[in-house]
Symmetry: C2
Subunit: 186 residues, 2 copies
Amino acid sequence: MERVRLAAREQPGRTERDTDMRGFLPLALVVGVLAAVSVAAGGPAAAPNGITPIHGYQDWKVIAPSYRPDKDHIRLIYGNDVAARAMESGTRPFPDGTVLVKVAWSTRKNPSFPAAVEPGKFAQVEFMIKDGKKYAATGGWGFARFLGPELKPYGDAPTFVQECFGCHLPVKDNDFVFTSLARSPR
Amino acid sequence: MERVRLAAREQPGRTERDTDMRGFLPLALVVGVLAAVSVAAGGPAAAPNGITPIHGYQDWKVIAPSYRPDKDHIRLIYGNDVAARAMESGTRPFPDGTVLVKVAWSTRKNPSFPAAVEPGKFAQVEFMIKDGKKYAATGGWGFARFLGPELKPYGDAPTFVQECFGCHLPVKDNDFVFTSLARSPR
């Protein structure tokens, strides 16, 4: 997937200012073709900013559940060890190496107990990866979203992260993170 | 807490049939006094069936989230390693040693993103402990519920478990467990 990231962000001979529409279409095609080749080769498809799905987060600690009636989603927010420690201690900004994972399922009523709303079909997984230098343009966070069981990358171009970042701006004072640790008596 | 359990369930000179109201009040007083002494001594109060709160489950795997609009609760169901393996493999009945923990918070809207419903105040924690011999009368499961940050035991007498068990009867075919594993692509 490194090839995809290079193609999208560090194409030789281009500068950051060279983002007019003449250059956009060929660049998008290159990214698309490389992503398709990657999928055909059996690897997971990368988001347009080069981030690929992280595996094994199901064994990480859960920071909190959430429910989104507007999306009909029920969610779990996992954190790696760096994230879990920062959540526990309240450390802000989150250290480089923090990874947060938000998994969403469509909801269903428990077949034997309809009052309980529980996970139905897997809907999407989103990642926030903290690297202050690499992702300086978006608050130090690398964003990615993958849709459905096939983990289809969300977004058509690297600029898709502006949508993610824009939504997270209201929680700038919490280092752009909405989730807080769901505490229960220890 | 062993003393409490003995007082409630194995009081010398009493048989299981000797449960008329003449005996109930003094027995309840003994249980109450012993529980109060235990709390004053710093230990957690036991449920009327002798089960005390389990600590450290926050480090266990999460089996699933759930949402209960009727109770205004958002919940996490944790499982110990035995539970997590049985959930993953679909093993039923659950092996002795299985522990499931259901933590409930009242809900709140995220202050910066009201569309998201998230945990507010801690409401209660419930335990299901599998021991086919010890809890044979209730499907092999020991039930307990503790309310609020002070973990006040739910139930006034050991018979409180009939309420738990009665509610779980519709899922007898799933070894009396409502929760199923929330799966996401690995």
